[in-house]
Symmetry: C2
């Protein structure tokens, strides 16, 4: 058990952006919101899954939609209250702790705001260990825990409660609600037991994010120290030569092309992204695919670069980490593997494409 203060939010924002693999929204906006809530309500208690009482229930909170829209809404904590109260009322149950559903700029921070406002602990875990764009894409839903009732609230005082027949319908209806309710809405889903968290959650995501941020903020050789901390693999060192983006079905899809530097100087690297980085090819050979994590880091500072931050000329390291084993099931790969996103590659675990 420890307390998270405003400085931890600086670290968490950086680490969550790295685990967010290019997506998850602007870390800056989320960080400001979390820091403002800690200013007002005090530091947030973080506990591990093992520290939960055996009968504890844990809810996940996030934002659905375009993160940038939230900027104007920062001072409005009222909609957090409305959502939380509606969630508790509808479920007819207490919430003993809150948890992020994903790692990424805004959605690592939203549960901290709930924890601060409501005075409940934050659990050091999440349901992805990274960021993914759709509501059915978490390790609870993939393991048969249905993702409704799901509760939504906008900043105008409107709320919606969904119950659906399957996880894909939740995503489909939620996406439509997001559009009509103003582009970004708060969301609460799941009431998980300690046993369910133990079996299906990705453990230690928040503390890992903070450790990543601390490393990158303080290290003199950040890329090397990151590898010491996380393991993982450097897939490529290069310079961004081209970024092609298009908007398709509410998502930003595209390809970043890098030409090699140093040992990679005769090679070309392509990163395919859809909000998140999903496929990395070196000289047209797939080296890493979703759900394994692909992050683009600044070559000098090691700071993660989101997909919207990818710019011509930037000198980068393409850094990969294996996904948690909880994703590496048939249902997991069907839900978040390259095929779901329309890529014609099989998922080959990072460990097998990378020479020891």
């Amino acid at each position: 058990m420890k307390y998270l203060d405003k400085q931890d939010m600086d670290k968490l924002a950086i680490g969550a952006a790295l685990l967010g693999t290019g997506g998850g929204g602007d870390p800056y906006v989320g960080k400001l919101m979390a820091q403002q809530s800690i200013d007002k309500y005090g530091p947030v208690q973080m506990i591990t899954i093992d520290e939960l009482a055996t009968d504890a229930t844990v809810a996940t909170f996030a934002m659905v939609g375009a993160p940038t829209v939230l900027v104007e809404k920062i001072p409005n904590f009222e909609s957090f209250d409305i959502l939380y109260d509606e969630f508790v009322k509808y479920n007819g149950d207490k919430i003993d702790a809150v948890m992020p559903i994903e790692a990424g700029g805004v959605n690592s921070m939203i549960p901290i705001i709930f924890a601060a406002i409501k005075g409940v602990p934050l659990v050091d875990a999440d349901g992805m260990g990274r960021a993914f764009p759709e509501m059915q894409m978490d390790t609870f839903n993939v393991n048969g825990i249905h993702n409704t009732p799901a509760v939504f609230a906008d900043e105008k005082g409107n709320t919606a409660i969904l119950n659906t027949s399957d996880g894909l319908w939740t995503e489909k209806i939620a996406r439509s609600l997001t559009t009509v309710m103003g582009g970004s809405i708060l969301n609460g889903v799941y009431l998980l037991s300690r046993q369910e968290l133990h079996d299906y959650a990705i453990h230690h995501t928040v503390s890992t994010s903070i450790a990543i941020g601390e490393t990158l903020m303080t290290s003199k050789q950040p890329i090397e120290d990151l590898q010491v901390l996380l393991g993982g693999t450097i897939l490529f060192r290069g310079k961004i030569q081209d970024v092609a983006r298009r908007t398709d079905g509410g998502f930003v899809k595209g390809t970043a092309t890098l030409t090699g530097l140093d040992a990679d100087k005769d090679a070309t690297c392509k990163i395919e992204f859809q909000n998140e980085n999903l496929v990395c090819l070196v000289d047209d050979v797939p080296r890493c695919t979703t759900p394994d994590l692909i992050t683009v880091l600044d070559l000098e500072t090691g700071m993660p670069i989101t997909t919207e931050g990818l710019k011509f000329g930037a000198r980068c390291v393409v850094f990969a980490q294996p996904a948690d084993d909880k994703w590496k099931t048939e249902a997991g790969i069907r839900t978040v593997g390259p095929g779901y996103f329309g890529y014609d590659y099989d998922y080959i675990p990072l460990e097998k494409t990378v020479k020891g």
Copy 2:
């Protein structure tokens, strides 16, 4: 108190189509659904507002969206059960009786199906006394009774519960849900007290609809007998010369032009419609506008013609009735007067445009 049987549905369908002023959907589909539910569950008890217990609570049920989509869903009463149960669960209150929110083909029938399935009485009243296209357009909302919680269900087992900050948001979000959930969804809203019904409902809408249907099915001089039954005014007798339709924002908008017959033979009549008939002009002078009722009737049979049924060459009577006084308030005219629908005419009550 009386019981409604399958034959009453034939009459109700005709009368509701007349009060539906051209909108409200195909009466045939609704009728089949109601008759099937009476076949299965038995006749439906209909009571007046005065026959309600003083502590009774009454819910309104309807369908939102395109009525034709429902055709394929007729055999599925399960979604009615799901909606009703979710409505009761969320409101935490009993339902003593159900009621239509509007008069019109499908939505006069939906509450009868609920009454049959659930074995509760139907109240002989509604919230419009006619049909209108949007969820904020009823005499409860106009009188300050908020139109949420509103509960929605599709035939796939998905449900949604809305709470909104004002009645227009309910309409906006419901319209979006309708689209994503498959084009037409069931809806429950309001839990009204006997006093609220007494003060704000339009009384006797169901029995009036049935009486209209009976008159038109049996009379040898239907138009004359209709006037004896309802009062009302014949604005025009003519032949449809032209119907211009366009789709705009999910609604079918258009103009029907009639050339006169008999006493009207040198005149022209235009009917502006948006799902419902909203404005009637004779020689370009407004003679009747929403919320007063404008219905196009077959000249021979007196049968009502919906806006989608308006066809070149049809010989018609344009029949008008004053709206219930509950619509004739400032809030009422702001909500459903010609200005709301984008017409540049003031509302002038029918009584003032028609010579005694």
